[in-house]
Amino acid sequence: MAISKEAYKGLEAIVGKEYISADPAVCEGYRAGPGGYECGLGYERVMTKIPACVIMPRTTEEVQKIVKTCNKYKVPYVPYSTGWYGPRSHCHVDDELIIDLKRMNDFEIDEKHLYAVVGPGIIYSQLQEEAMNRGMYIIIGGGGAQCSAIANMIGDGWSPLSYRIGLPHRRILGTELVLPDGELVKMGSLATGDDPFWGDGLGPDLRGLLRGFTGHRGFLGIVTRMAIKLLPFQPERLEPAGISPHTTLMLPEKRVKWINFTMPSKDAMREAMFEMAKAEIGGGVTKVPIFWRAIARANSKEEFWELWSKENEETISSFHLLRVLLIAFTSEEQMEYEEQVLNEIIAELGGEARRTRPSDESWFKNADSAGMWLMCGGYVSVDYVIETIEHAIPHGENYAKLKRNYTPPLMPDYGDPGWFQSFELGHQGYSEFLVYWDPDVNSDGVDQFYLETSKENIRKRFYTSLLGPHQPLYLTGPAYGPNYHEWLLKIKNEFDPLFICHPPVPLAHDEFVKRAEWMKPMKDWESPI
């Protein structure tokens, strides 16, 4: 046991013997890697540790007591809901405590006012099923159906369906946040009463502090309860079918339909997104990385490579697949109308509809993120941009060009510009750049590419969402601020004067560059670290 006996006893008294352990075999299970999101890379190897102790609280009050005990005995801690988000959601320093929140799985749903109140132990697919059973729905973020709904809502939380119902900021309602010193903040309507139905409360809106664009990964406290806005859905059931691994949701085609279109160019794809938005049709629209098609078709890793190795620069640069989701929220006539409008838009742009299966494996209930590891074994999204469509497309193209310098170790993708889509009915554009590599070969180049993307954003003025904990703060802060880093550290210092909540985040990537020999040549910015 590496935390003091006094601290352990204090913690044990809060949850009981059954829910705390410092046993090495238990703690080993909480190692970040070697597999998983961003795992196998230098950041995971250099920056993560196994915990000295794991504790599983049941209530917000217990979390407060745990955090206060940690402050009393100076035990660093990190909140952990499912452990999905790779090394950045695991311990970074010796003698650290993991606060595993999976027992906090309370769930209530208010059908009349369209919201659910969840604990961090509730995952998206659970929430989605409960919502759909009552005629509502929510976006399952690209992180996957297995994500803690709260963790994803305060971290990422988007998918092609964000085209219609927007980013998660607006769907966070009444929320409880245990600050790094154990004080409880109640946000939204919870600040003035027991009903969490509304996101706005007295005083400044702290939701920006809670997540910004992509969240703070646990270094500004622990969200223990959140009311999440649900949206009205169409009334027909999406019926599960098939046996693993071929399971799918069968769509009621008069109400919900995916249509894939082959478009003549990237410009035509972009125009289609704009025109759909102007016509206010569609439930989702996206251009996904082309190799995802190969993943969907392959029955194994080997089959993926057989399919993918048939591609080349030319086939990739000339293939433009636009996926459109239509949802007839109000009536079957809405489907007829939207499909007609969509077909006219596509026809004018020279596109062509392809046969599309009347099913969904990826976005309504599943968000198949686990499949991203099929082909190489290593995966991370090196950047997200949430700006305009005009901004998102060149962002991906620039990254694709930059990526050539790091391929290998990165997987060959023949210049595919990644994933872009339209959010909030065309008012925002999204670009995500995903990279894959073989973790069993030297992957220093992946670490270097990750950092290089940050520099590329600064050079080319791309508005990244991965500030704060994902890149060196002293590199990004002055460029985006000019004093973003100073403000973030002031906030951190104000709420966490002992720097005890998930240290050394938000300076962990600065620390990584300092510690990793292969990263040092890239350091060309001023920094006290």
């Binding site: 909480y30 659970q126 297995q146 399971t247 194994s300 890793k301 080997e302 686990a370 499949g371 069993d440």
Partner: protein, 429 residues
């Protein structure tokens, strides 16, 4: 092995280094397939992760522990053995993982136990007692070997020579004679002659499950040879655990394919389903029951045939020659359902978690012996599901499941009829 020569030989943990090191903590092993996710209740399929909660008890934790063991970073302790053995090896994790990835989770877990035994630390003391029983009396209970055939009623005469050989197994021979008797009567009713082994011994399921591969292999050789000598074309089992042992684990232990056993291994439900579809067996009696069917793990997601494989792992983790992974897709899911649906009066209501998503009863693979509280808890969780769907009876295809459900229902005061499917089939003939 991360690269280079690799095989599916479970006696070497390093064969699964790649698989263990590529676990991504998606916890698809624990949750019900998200497509089938029923909501906030009955949402998991891994008994050990659900009961013990700490990540170490989920496959994601055990994979990390496995890597630590391979790298010599993990010492044996009581807690480590609890993590390795308080697990039903039910295969839920394996099919969950293989929905998206190509990782051999079940084999990794088996290899971990085998390593524990090789290192002189496993299995659990209760398992050693069972092993002694098997060694001494050739059955897991330690009952006198000469009593093995006592289940056979006077009015049933097995054939001296037949295509079908019924391997009764320890449970149906000693503890659940009603299953063996029902099976024999069904075969009689169908006009299917069957023979028995002159000297049947334990199949060794428990030995293999807890990692005692040498003892299990010895039994496999002995039993296969005994069956081959009879000239049987079909080996019939009414026990799902035994079925898996014969069909999957014997070939695995002997590095042969299931197809190379020299006879076909079938469970009663497969045979009856064939007989019904051929018209050889007809249901004439009404069985008025609103019942549910429990997918016994070893008949369902764990039952796909075994094919040995060895080769090389290379770039991107690809293997050659090609490997047909066992993903649980072709388990025996439909035949028992078709049988039950064709019985007059039976109303089959499905449980919320079914087929590859079913929640294990908690009895098998050494769990009940070493962790009886956990086994009862798991059965209790399943019985809550039975209650939620309003079934008056639960039907299983394995005596282990039947006994654990019956015992737990009684302990919990739950009024529920518990049957083996052989009993229901017999009642309808």
């Amino acid at each position: 092995m991360l690269k280079g020569k690799v095989s599916l030989d479970v006696t070497r943990l390093d064969n699964f280094e790649y698989d263990m090191s590529k676990c991504i903590k998606c916890k698809g092993c624990t949750w019900v397939d998200h497509i089938y996710m029923p909501g906030v209740t009955f949402s998991t399929r891994c008994p050990s992760a659900t009961r013990y909660l700490f990540d170490s008890h989920g496959a994601y934790g055990k994979m990390r522990i496995g890597i630590a063991m391979l790298e010599g970073r993990m010492d044996y302790s009581d807690k480590l053995l609890e993590i390795l053995y308080a697990c039903t090896l039910c295969g839920a994790c394996d099919v969950g993982c293989k929905r998206n990835l190509d990782l051999e989770i079940e084999l990794s877990l088996e290899a971990l136990r085998i390593k524990a035994v090789k290192d002189g630390k496993g299995p659990m003391p209760q398992h050693k007692k069972v092993a002694q029983n098997i060694s001494k009396e050739h059955n897991r209970f330690g009952s006198p070997h000469q009593n093995r055939g006592k289940w056979l009623p006077d009015n049933i005469k097995p054939a001296q020579k037949a295509d079908v050989l019924y391997f009764v197994g320890c449970s149906a021979s000693y503890k659940n004679p009603e299953i063996a008797q029902a099976t024999a009567k069904i075969l009689n009713a169908a006009g299917t002659p069957f023979m028995l082994l002159a000297d049947e011994w334990c199949c060794g399921n428990m030995l293999y499950s807890v990692g005692m591969v040498d003892e299990a292999r010895e039994l496999a050789r002995r039993n296969i040879e005994a069956v081959r000598k009879t000239g049987a074309k079909t080996l019939l089992l009414s026990c799902a655990e035994g079925y898996r042992m014969w069909k999957v684990d014997y070939p695995k232990l002997l590095n042969i394919a299931t197809a190379d056993l020299g006879f076909r291994v079938v469970h009663l439900v497969e045979l009856v389903d064939e007989l019904i579809k051929k018209g050889t067996l007809k249901f004439t009696k009404t069985v008025n029951l609103r019942l549910t069917y429990h997918d016994s793990c070893s008949l369902s997601r764990l039952s796909e045939p075994w094919t040995p494989w060895s080769g090389e792992r290379g770039e991107w983790g690809m293997v050659s020659p090609s490997l047909e992974r066992r993903r649980g897709t072709n388990g025996v899911y439909q035949p028992p359902r078709d049988i039950l649906k064709s019985i007059p009066g039976v109303e089959l209501v499905e449980m919320i978690r079914m087929k590859e998503n079913a929640f294990c009863c908690g009895a098998g693979r050494g769990t009940q012996e070493a962790f009886p509280d956990f086994a009862s808890w798991a059965a209790g969780e399943r019985l809550k599901e039975v209650k939620a769907i309003g079934a008056e009876a639960i039907v299983a295809t394995c005596p282990w499941c039947k006994d654990n459900f019956a015992k737990t229902a009684k302990e919990n005061g739950q009024k529920l009829k518990v049957f083996d499917i052989a009993e229901i089939i017999l009642a309808a003939i």
